[in-house]
């Protein structure tokens, strides 16, 4: 059993690139629509909430509300982009499109394929997250150099959420089940993770929950970077995000093996 699990893990450190490149090749054909689609939602939240609420809220933590929200939206859009890519597009490639089946006929292992998909989902997070960060910088809500600092965190956020969603993808019998993940996990995280208002506004018990959420760690790294402030406990946040990226990966490899190779 153990031996078979090991055989399903990545065969080497470069095999996943072929999977990433396949997804890139397909995406390139619909790039414009995809980018606009990924941007539309966070942008409308940013401007809708930012200007609308901003007037009532005034300032938060010593900055304008829209600048505060922009950093939250960068993390959120990375979360959403990676999650949706994984639960919808990856699920389709694994299931209906039989793309994985074709890949499994080659020298790729299941682990190579999962890794390629995670890297691809993280790439889409980078596109979505940096786009918001760039717009925030253009409007003067963040320093240009902060976009550069935020970039690795956006990528790590994408990996962590793709990895979590990969477990859900491995378990879901069909598309219908993803709604539960969205409404019970992803959407609450948006409000609990400090993206739209500070975690300190939450009741005590929720603050404790928030401390464990991946989005909280991501926001706590991205917001200081974008507001040009020193960040606290950088090591803790990065470690937490790494754990969220790595452990679900190994779990999903085991789950996919049980699902696809039995």
């Amino acid at each position: 059993m153990w031996e078979r699990y090991v055989a399903a893990l990545p065969a080497n450190v470069w095999n996943w690139v072929a999977v990433w490149r396949r997804n890139y090749l397909v995406w390139r054909k619909l790039a414009l629509a995809s980018i606009l689609g990924n941007l539309a939602e966070p942008m409308s939240s940013l401007f809708g909430l930012g200007f609308g609420l901003g007037v009532m809220v005034g300032g938060v933590d010593g900055t304008s509300y829209i600048a505060f929200l922009a950093a939250g939206m960068v993390a959120t859009s990375a979360m959403i982009a990676a999650t949706f890519e994984t639960i919808y597009a990856t699920f389709a490639r694994m299931h209906a499109l039989r793309t994985w089946e074709a890949m499994l006929c080659t020298q790729l292992t299941l682990g190579d394929i999962i890794l390629g998909e995670l890297a691809w989902a993280a790439t889409k997070s980078i596109l979505a997250g940096t786009a918001i960060a760039i717009i925030a910088a253009m409007l003067g809500y963040a320093a240009w150099s902060s976009v550069l600092y935020a970039l690795p965190v956006i990528a790590l956020t994408g990996l962590a959420f793709a990895s979590l969603a990969m477990v859900v993808t491995a378990l879901a019998p069909s598309y219908h089940y993803f709604v539960f993940y969205q409404t019970l996990i992803v959407t609450p995280m948006l409000y609990l993770g400090g993206a739209v208002f500070p975690v300190s506004q939450l009741p005590g018990a929720f603050q404790q929950v928030a401390a464990f959420l991946p989005l909280t760690h991501s926001v706590d790294l991205i917001r200081p970077a974008m507001l040009g402030r020193p960040a606290d406990s950088v090591g803790v946040h990065i470690t937490a995000l790494c754990i969220y990226a790595i452990s679900p990966f190994f779990l999903s490899a085991a789950l996919f093996r049980r699902r696809l190779m039995r």
Partner: protein, 304 residues
């Protein structure tokens, strides 16, 4: 290189309590074309997927190209080409892009793949479709592309699950001709099929499977001689049961498949004499073929 390319020894697989493959043993030698025949659900696809290491057996040993499967299936798959039962091409990509992406799965560089694409396109007669989206291709073209794709890593062994199902006769003949040229180049092929003509033309040896068990094995000619060994008369247009009773004393065996009566007759003249004067019957006398073997082995014999 090991002497056998595929070795199944006592391989068993069940899902829940249902046995899908039961104690199956066979070998396929280098350069051989080995056919798996059997009715729908017999377990043919399961067996081909076991060759690739995608389904672990519950018991028994599988060795492919000298390596144990599924334990080291990746090594074997690097030298195998696969034509799956259902096409899994990338519909959004062009023909060329499909080959490019697939070659990369084998760790080939873009340049290496581009170097082999022209010959693969030529092999599949898809030269002037190179830049067409796969979604726009006909079923036969898709199948040919799948065949070309399976050759991208210059495999020694080809695993083909129903390579010609759903194709028109032209397309099928073209694929047969291509497969023969691959055999001439020394490739080993294991294929499943529902076309008895295909098995008879291409396979050196074949194995008939029913409910996951081997019920016959041998070269097509020998199986035909051994299982049938006499002329066949097909009769349609009458009541099969009534006709069966009439000619039973003059034939070796009778089988009913649908509305057709198959008589296996060492002395066909005698049968024809019995049927003389009956109107509305259509008779066909012919030498035995693999379809007769298949129907005999997997069909229901009329037992009255």
């Amino acid at each position: 290189m090991s002497r056998v390319h595929i070795d199944f020894a006592g391989v068993t697989k069940s899902y829940k309590d249902r046995i899908i493959v039961g104690g199956l043993s066979f070998t396929v030698g280098p350069g051989e074309c080995f056919g798996l025949l059997g009715p729908n659900g017999a377990g043919k696809s399961t067996i081909t997927r076991m060759v690739l290491g995608m389904i672990p057996p519950d018991a028994g040993k599988i060795t492919v190209l000298g390596v144990p499967v599924p334990a080291r299936a990746r090594l074997a798959r690097a030298r195998i080409g696969v034509v799956p039962q259902f096409d899994n091409l990338d519909l959004e990509l062009t023909v060329r892009e499909n080959l490019l992406a697939f070659g990369r799965y084998f760790s080939m560089s873009t340049r290496e793949v581009e170097a082999v694409i022209p010959s693969l396109l030529q092999f599949a007669r898809l030269e002037n479709k190179a830049d067409a989206r796969v979604a726009e291709l006909s079923g036969g073209m898709k199948r040919r592309l799948t065949l070309a794709r399976s050759l991208i890593n210059d495999p020694q062994l080809l695993v083909m699950d129903e390579p010609t199902t759903g194709l028109d006769p032209h397309a099928r003949h073209l694929i047969w001709e291509r497969l023969r040229s691959l055999l001439a180049r020394g490739k080993t092929i294991i294929l499943t099929t529902h076309f008895m003509e295909e098995a008879e033309r291409l396979c050196d040896r074949l194995c008939v499977i029913e409910a996951g068990r081997k019920i016959a094995e041998g070269c097509p000619r020998a199986l035909i001689d051994e299982q049938i060994g006499c002329q066949v008369i097909e009769i349609y247009g009458g009541n099969p049961h009534e006709l069966g009773a009439l000619i039973r004393p003059y034939v070796q065996r009778i089988e009913v498949s649908g509305e057709t009566l198959f008589c296996y007759a060492p002395d066909p003249e005698q049968v024809l004499v019995q049927l003389r004067g009956r109107t509305g019957l259509r008779l066909l006398q012919r030498p035995p073929n693999l379809e007769d073997v298949f129907l005999r082995l997997t069909g229901r014999e009329m037992k009255d």
